[in-house]
Symmetry: C2
Subunit: 552 residues, 2 copies
Amino acid sequence: MPTTNGHVKPGRSEVYSEVQTSRLKVSLPLPSVLKSSFDVVDGRKSSAAGNPDEIAKLFPKLFGQPSVSLKAGGSLPKQSLKIGIVLSGGQAPGGHNVICGILDYLQNRAQGSTVYGFRGGPVGIMKCKYVQLTYEFVYPYRNQGGFDMICSGRDKIETPEQFQQARETAKKLDLDGIVVIGGDDSNTNACLLAENFRANGLKTRVIGCPKTIDGDLKCKEVPISFGFDTACKIYSEMIGNLMVDARSTRKYYHFVRLMGRAASHITLECALQTHPNIAIIGEEVAAQKQTLKSVTNYITNIIGKRADAGYNYGIILIPEGLIDFIPEVQQLLAELNEILAHGVVDQGGAWKKKLRSQSHELFEMLPKAIQEQLLLERDPHGNVQVAKIETEKMLTQMVEVELENRKKEGKYKKDFKGLAHFFGYEGRCGLPSTFDSNYCYALGYGAAALLHSGKTGLISSVGNLGAPVEDWTVGGTALTSLMNVERRHGKFKPVIKKAMVELEGAPFKKFASMRNDWSLKNRYINPGPVQFVGPTSKVINHTLMLELGSQA
Amino acid sequence: MPTTNGHVKPGRSEVYSEVQTSRLKVSLPLPSVLKSSFDVVDGRKSSAAGNPDEIAKLFPKLFGQPSVSLKAGGSLPKQSLKIGIVLSGGQAPGGHNVICGILDYLQNRAQGSTVYGFRGGPVGIMKCKYVQLTYEFVYPYRNQGGFDMICSGRDKIETPEQFQQARETAKKLDLDGIVVIGGDDSNTNACLLAENFRANGLKTRVIGCPKTIDGDLKCKEVPISFGFDTACKIYSEMIGNLMVDARSTRKYYHFVRLMGRAASHITLECALQTHPNIAIIGEEVAAQKQTLKSVTNYITNIIGKRADAGYNYGIILIPEGLIDFIPEVQQLLAELNEILAHGVVDQGGAWKKKLRSQSHELFEMLPKAIQEQLLLERDPHGNVQVAKIETEKMLTQMVEVELENRKKEGKYKKDFKGLAHFFGYEGRCGLPSTFDSNYCYALGYGAAALLHSGKTGLISSVGNLGAPVEDWTVGGTALTSLMNVERRHGKFKPVIKKAMVELEGAPFKKFASMRNDWSLKNRYINPGPVQFVGPTSKVINHTLMLELGSQA
């Protein structure tokens, strides 16, 4: 095949770049405990994250089962297994290595095993759409980003009919186990599937793996979800470049919105990696019941102080989900949805009288473009499309208006030039960092070991991540122990609560202790592109270290 | 100083990341000819790129002087020099290494020399604002991105008073030479300054260096401007990630606008590096006198064909300057500027009758948000702010409308989801690639050699760039030989014509020969992050090789 650069991907029609090819050849280290024979040792009986009585009712077969850890010594029975794998939800760097880990485990420890990859996410289980995953098929995806090996999907196995379909697939393929690679929702679903299989007398076991670049699926035994490290490093590379640009150009304020709708972990991690002048953490905004006006003022005040100090430029990080954290905005959106569902918006603005006075005031404060976005763009259910609101532009414009006002009052004398950026998709599918490559491989290898040992309803858990790979711990955490319930449509639904940025946790406290210094002085750090070779390739994820430290 | 990661930048208050620190320590190779003693050998008498008679009148002292090349043997006189350096125009990765090259040359070949860095661009020359550049001062910027060592500016030395100021500075500092690091405009200015100094009997000589990420300053002897390689590699990393995302998610069309207002080199280079489904090259659009509608149809047709082939996703690259290449858009903008200068825009739309019919039609075809942008956002001179028009969003929306129409006619059956991106500032200030680091160091080292040998009015020229560094050629090209004239306000002004993408050149022809294959099949390449260590760090700029090939 003619190529302009790179190599043909082994066995595929695609072309690989030099860096992709070099990553393919890199061998993956394993924690010591996975290199020799091991036992799977039960811990203590587990409970639930909240409402244990309700969780016990929802998971009569699985509730209370212990989490487990792998210990050297002993050995698992020699038997071949039939395993299905599914990728669920949004992309995260490293997903392919989880699959490589599963395959390599089976090849080393359970020869003669068969692995199926369900295509396009959980719908692949329901419709029994799969591909057999052989070493030759999987090899080209080793250490590569994306989920394109078998693709992912956002469907859920929810209705009795869908569970029935899943059971039929499990029986048809004679599955010993399924590995579900996904976030909080997908792992909740994995646990429901494990319970359902067990309750229906199927042998098929289910093990989850913690995936999400947002970093909001974690607990004591699962210190981090995979993909977070790579995504944050890619965003931090770009933020670092903007910092150098700002310091060179000396005339722009860069407003950078970062992925992370439910929690602000990415913004916090990128802040710790790069030292921006301002970083807004949604959880803090919510805890302090801040308003859009107070967030705007916070930013504007710092810009004013920087102007006095001679700096007319800066970097501001904003989490994608910011407006979800501001109560008054939620209130305004609810009122708008209601008004627009039952009436029309007249040009004269008489409709605004239907808004409560606080919401009316807030609406009037918004930039015209945002007002129109709120009134015009609605999803099929008639709701405002919050995800489409460009928070970084909204804040840039609000800050600009506020600075104009201060200028008129003689309190600000510079020209403000704001530039808005959104870093999202560029990070979800990057080449996995060395950390994510190794972590995912261990997660997959461990997940297969858990299935091999007969376990179900656990999430693969690799710990002690601040240490060298050989010292990492491996085990499985009872999914029911992570659960709480939420009441929806009059029924209790199990949920794994999203892990939010803890305002008392070490990473936030570290950030809080430094941000004043960062705001007025320029402590920018430019991490540069992720390196795969040489000493800098071994730099460990920073927040991770802090968080581990805080848990020790 | 407390740091959360990285090292304190030597002698500075900033903190360096691991990768920055590792780059600091990397020694820079030199072309063989610069490592031993050499002679500066004159070539043939030169002419001009166009209108030689006018250029001869504008540069009576310099016109016709030969370009030069460095050859091994001989030696330059032992003398110390006083040199000033100025960075001019937008940031480009590698600028700091040009300065390092100048300093290292003087330290090795002209001991006792003094170097001044003019602060903030040409205004630093006019106002005699400078800092003395010592090895200790410069060292922390070695192989680092940005222009923050002495910063840049966009002022020009134009009026007789400004030339007078420049002469005063040159006399005050007793300068033997000035190195101007900049793009086409800045190098034109460098030549005017060289002529002015010579005409006024000053000893101060002026040498230019080719800088611009846009890649539009080049000629036979200057195969590429510095910064282009790094910027394209950073953009290509992100485009490659979006490709993996597209292939994994299978539901998004990513519309990516890339920097490059005057010429589409960046878009072409990134296309060759990553193989997108569509890349629009402005020069081709202009040559074919395409309309916005025809560009939209071209994109929509490919999306339609991809849908038939089962692909409902893709990657589309668009040059920042696209609308500057479309004659009908230029016409519309001119009419709008005229109308808005002399009247008001009424809500009813009666003002539209003032538009010519073709412009009226075009205006009605534009998305509402773009229409408003054209009517509302104006610069201080009342002109439409073309740079603020988000071409990628405009095209996304126009394609969406066209696909909706086709859907109604039953010709398109998928759901189109477009996502718009702009990659610009992230690339201008990245850590210089190995190529740009080495190239800039040689450019600087060579510029100092040219000054040392008594030359003026040349641009530092390093060639044979496809070969290993030791085989690179070094010389200087007569700036007057690159010039043509433009008539402005009734006077001839010298200009270095921007190098556009040549539709008969090897890079475009290569692209044109492959784009049909890319459009319907997915030949995506994910170059990954720039590597500084290991074999992949030595991958040479791709277009560069092609272009060199085409010149051989």
